[in-house]
């Protein structure tokens, strides 16, 4: 169904929201039931990190899927999915700040400067921050659609920094971070191709108009 009635679009937001909350729920439940294994903080760090990247990639796939399938109503869930990427990213950051560093500001600044994987991770989170803050309809109006869109292209750089963060922290066996990297590359490649195609079409249109005029 290409055009979904408004009623359904709204109703579907509830299960999408609950499903997106799933990983956090599972983690919390395991935490209270001795399910996080020998190193719970490590599990929390890795799980929240992976879901941050996963939600970034899901958010980035909304446009390609929408364009290719014609399911235009998918756009209505993009903001929520993007905010969930920010939500898991913030949990991930909190795990580091609280459970790893115990709010040792000096130690964290040292890390950010010296540990390149932490530099990359911090960059990824800080690039998400303005996007989360300006995600409301009010802010879109205030900034203006075109400029808002341009600002929100920061998500490409945030996702890239996230993947680099993952690659840089792995000791050996890069299969997992490379999988995320490959999906991200495919999603970015789609945009480049779409942009090129649009440009060529626009030029042809222009050329056609000029011939008509002449």
């Amino acid at each position: 169904m290409k055009q979904l009635p408004e009623k359904f679009v709204r109703a579907l937001k509830v299960p999408v929201f609950l499903l997106s909350l799933g990983p956090a729920f599972v983690l919390t439940w395991k935490g209270f039931h001795d399910g996080l294994g020998a190193n719970p903080i490590d599990v929390i760090t890795r799980t929240t990190g992976r879901w941050t990247l996963t939600f970034l990639l899901i958010t980035l796939s909304v446009t390609p899927v929408r364009k290719l399938s014609g399911l235009t109503w998918l756009i209505r869930y993009r903001r929520m999915l993007g905010l969930f990427a920010f939500f898991y990213g913030s949990l991930h950051l909190m795990t580091y700040v609280w459970l790893d560093k115990f709010f040792d500001v000096h130690g964290m600044l040292h890390d950010i400067a010296k540990r390149r994987f932490i530099t990359a991770g911090m960059t990824a989170w800080f690039l998400m921050l303005p996007l989360a803050l300006t995600s409301t309809t009010g802010w879109i109006r205030r900034i203006g659609g075109k400029r808002w869109q341009r600002l929100h292209r920061l998500i490409y750089f945030s996702a890239a920094a996230g993947v680099i963060h993952f690659i840089w922290l792995v000791k050996a066996d890069l299969r997992r971070p490379f999988t995320y990297g490959a999906v991200l590359l495919a999603l970015l490649a789609y945009r480049i191709i779409a942009w090129l195609v649009a440009r060529v079409r626009a030029r042809r249109m222009l050329a056609a108009q000029q011939t008509v005029r002449a």
Binding site: A38, D100, D111, R115, W168, A172
Partner: protein, 322 residues
């Protein structure tokens, strides 16, 4: 309407009574024989071998305590066996336990070669009788920043070296893990690490009384996940020096290659002594998370074994020789 009369079954197709009786007997006989055979295999696995084969979980007898043990409380058996790096099985620390369950540790021989009077092959059960088995409760510090306290059972490596009878020209000891890609799934992926896993020690490090070959954990035969049937334990070095499932020990007059050093020489040196002042290029080594504890604790020089081993490295620049 035409009703076909069923044709008589030709007598040639009727099995003679004698014949089918024999067939039944044969089937019954085969079943009995099969059961006997299976039973035989079962007995061979479980009875015949009970005095030689050391199956996972079996109690080890005659273990003596050691003054080298720490009085810190050991990490639980569950955590030691469920949180562990064993890249041959998985790069995930939670998976090796399940994947190593059916790993075959018998028959098992260890080849001794290189600069020795006489190269030989020792059977694991003979190796286990080389010296009295001791309980050694050691701190274990992983290069990733977590640590445990592990009650190993083993014997000093120097007992094995004496039995190997190396030549005076031997300056280093090289170790090699078994290459068994049919049992160790990641050995089919040469991009993960350069298999088989190899490690090495300088002769004085190998002869040091703290250095042991472990064959047990918590008074039981060493679980497969922790490197059964025979693994190295060097408590003042990062955990990855403790090579698992050893099948070859060679004596050399040159510093032998080591797996992680080949993988990233700027991150993992030959010595890999625990050193809070020498950070891993990508993360700090100043503190560690002891499994079971909430807050991190400071990492100690030589993992707290400085009194015993610091003299091995006197005059060496440990920032360069990491």
């Amino acid at each position: 309407m035409l009703i076909k009369k069923p044709g008589d079954i030709p007598s040639s197709e009727i099995t003679p009574k004698q014949s089918y009786l024999t067939r039944r007997k044969f089937i019954a006989g085969a079943a009995v024989a099969g059961a006997a055979l299976a039973g035989g295999f079962y007995l061979r696995e479980h009875i015949d071998s009970s005095d030689t084969v050391h199956a996972e979980g079996q109690k080890l007898n005659g273990i003596v305590k050691s003054p080298f043990s720490t009085s810190e409380s050991p990490t639980s058996f569950k955590d030691i066996t469920n949180y562990n790096n064993y890249y041959e099985f998985s790069t995930d620390k939670y998976e090796p336990n399940g994947l190593a369950k059916n790993f075959r540790t018998r028959p098992w021989t260890v080849a001794i070669d290189g600069l020795v009077k006489k190269p030989k092959k020792l059977d694991i059960d003979a190796i286990m009788k080389l010296a009295p088995l001791e309980e050694r409760i050691y701190r274990h510090r992983c290069v990733e920043g977590w640590s445990m306290v592990i009650p190993w059972v083993g014997f000093p490596l120097n007992a094995l070296i004496k039995a190997a009878d190396p030549l005076p020209s031997a300056k280093f000891v090289a170790f090699q893990t078994v290459l068994a890609p049919d049992q160790m799934p990641n050995q089919k992926h040469p991009d993960i690490l350069d298999w088989p896993y190899v490690e090495g020690l300088r002769m004085d490090e190998a002869m040091h009384p703290l250095t042991i070959m472990a064959v047990g954990l918590y008074d039981e035969v060493l679980p497969n996940v922790d490197g059964a049937p025979l693994r190295l334990v060097v408590p003042w070095k990062y955990g990855f020096k403790g090579i698992k499932a050893v099948v070859k020990i060679s004596f050399t007059d040159f510093m032998p290659p080591t797996t992680w050093n080949k993988m990233a020489s700027d991150e993992y040196g030959f010595y890999s002594n625990v050193n809070p002042q020498k950070d891993h290029p990508r993360w700090s080594q100043a503190s560690e998370r002891r499994i079971g504890e909430f807050r991190k604790r400071p990492t100690l020089m030589f993992n707290g074994y400085g009194d015993q081993v610091a003299s091995l490295y006197s005059g060496m620049d440990l920032q360069k020789n990491y």
